[in-house]
Structure formats: structure tokens, C-alpha cells
């Protein structure tokens, strides 16, 4: 019955998962290498770019909200913002509603830099994805949505062993 199918499915997907992990690692390092010239041209690092991207994406970005969405610590984001601030790409100002909090916004220059780098990233991946069937790309997006969801929360209460 179903158990046989399950067992076969798991044995197969184990090798598939192993290959996926290696490819994921390979794609990440290759992307970073390919993106380096564009980042260097904008005098920005990858960490700074992700902070910039989140300030751009979030409704009302604060240090802690950016940190939360990126899954990094507040001091890390704070450091990235120091550099973005110094480069004139992001502005900080204290909130009037809660004076502990800092409201982040992009400068026009920050907006341009974010758009250019995001365009480079998308172009790079789109170029590498040339020739891949759209249905495969759609499946991949579905898989990654699910993987991210499944990896986010440590399944605390549920003993996996």
C-alpha cells in the first residue's frame, strides 16, 4: 500500500535533496562572484544591498524590522546602515511617535542604486535561466516558497528523533 510508495519516494528524494543542496551552494557562490563587479561599481557590499532593498520594500522600515526580515542581528543592520548613511543612500530620523525608534528612508540616490543592482541581479539570473521551461521555473518558485516556510521556524515542540 501507500507505505511502499512512501519509502521509495523518500529514498529517491534523498539523493535529489543532496544534489539540490550542492546546486544551491553552487548557484549562491556563482551569483555572488558574477555580481561583484556591479557591487564594486556602486561601492556597496552584498550585506548593504540587502539592507537597502529592505528599506525600500518595507512599509515603514526601522532597524529592528529590517533585522527581523533579513534574519540578522540588529547590530549587523546598524553597521550596514552606518555605511549606507555615510554613502548618502539611506536617511535615518527619530520617530516622533516613539522616540526610541528610527525611521529609515531611501534617498533618491539610494533608490537609483537599489534599482540598478536589483536589475543586475535579475538580469543575471534571467540570462542564466534562458531556455528553462516556464513551468519548471514556476515549480521552482513554489518549491522555494515552501522550503523557506518549512525552514523558518525550528519545530521546537516536535521531537524529530
Amino acid at each position: 500500500m501507500a507505505a511502499t510508495v512512501m519509502a521509495r519516494g523518500r529514498a529517491e528524494s534523498s539523493e535529489e535533496v543532496a544534489e539540490l543542496v550542492e546546486r544551491l551552494h553552487g548557484v549562491m557562490r556563482a551569483s555572488l562572484h558574477r555580481l561583484q563587479p556591479a557591487l564594486a561599481a556602486e561601492k556597496i557590499t552584498m550585506g548593504q544591498f540587502w539592507a537597502l532593498h529592505l528599506v525600500s520594500s518595507l512599509e515603514s522600515a526601522s532597524v529592528s524590522s529590517v533585522a527581523r526580515h533579513l534574519g540578522v542581528s540588529a547590530p549587523t543592520v546598524c553597521g550596514n546602515l552606518d555605511q549606507l548613511d555615510a554613502s548618502g543612500l539611506v536617511r535615518r530620523h527619530r520617530s516622533d511617535r516613539d522616540r526610541r525608534s528610527v525611521v529609515l528612508s531611501l534617498t533618491p540616490s539610494g533608490r537609483q542604486v537599489e534599482a540598478r543592482i536589483w536589475g543586475q541581479i535579475a538580469g543575471l539570473v534571467a540570462e542564466a535561466a534562458r531556455g528553462i521551461p516556464p513551468s519548471d521555473l514556476e515549480a521552482t518558485v513554489r518549491v522555494f516558497r515552501e522550503l523557506e516556510r518549512g525552514l523558518e521556524a525550528p519545530p521546537a515542540g516536535r521531537g524529530a528523533r
Copy 2:
């Protein structure tokens, strides 16, 4: 004719690519966070693990061959190997055929550590992939093989803009 279809396909996949990039980033950071306890338990870092994994995978691993396969510099690998060597997980010895070259091999302990961590990674991903249709996983592996291939070599001669 085909141009219309192409244009539509590109506009659509542009958003798809953007989401894929964000999910990729999210999955990477989530995996690293989830893997931290296992790495800490083995007193090993992610960089050391990938070096260990390549010494394990390559036919006859040398510093330069590991560096090439990981896409990192020789000094980086050399440093990782220093630590793996000090932890008794990897052994180095000069090649007799070419005395410049160093032949790398896993110790029994290194083999065990590699297997345990690789198992953790695979288990983590397999758990997160529970419920994903096998056909979607297969498509994803195809996509990542192609993406890695497409990202590897800078398309030097071909002006992409």
C-alpha cells in the same frame, strides 16, 4: 510571431526571477541558522564543512582542486584545512609524484563528522520539503543545474548590453 511570445514570457519571468532571488536568499539564511547547532556540536564551521565535503568527494583532493571546486581562493581553503587538520579530521601529505602538491585525505573521524553533518543538512531540507510534489522537486533540480551552468562562466566575448 515568436517575438510576442518571447516578450510576454520575459515580462512574466522577470517577476518570477525576482521572487526566486528573494526566496533563495531566505532559504540560504534559514538553512544556515537551522544548521548552526549541529555545526557547533561538531565544533566545525560551514566553510570547514564544505572543504571537508570536497576532500571526501574528490578523487584525489589537493588544496587547489578543492579551491577550484568551491570557487574560493587557495588561501581560504588553506585556512580551513589548517583547522580541519588541527581537529584531526583531515590529513595532508606531500605528493611523491609532484612534491609541490599536497594530497588531502579524511581521517576516520573526519569521515564520521562529514556523514553526520551531511545527514543533518539532508534531513533538514527533506523535512522542509515534506509535502512538495516529487515532480516539482525534480523540476527544481533541473533548474538549479541549469542556473549553475549558466552562471559559472562570465559570457566574456558576448556583450550582454
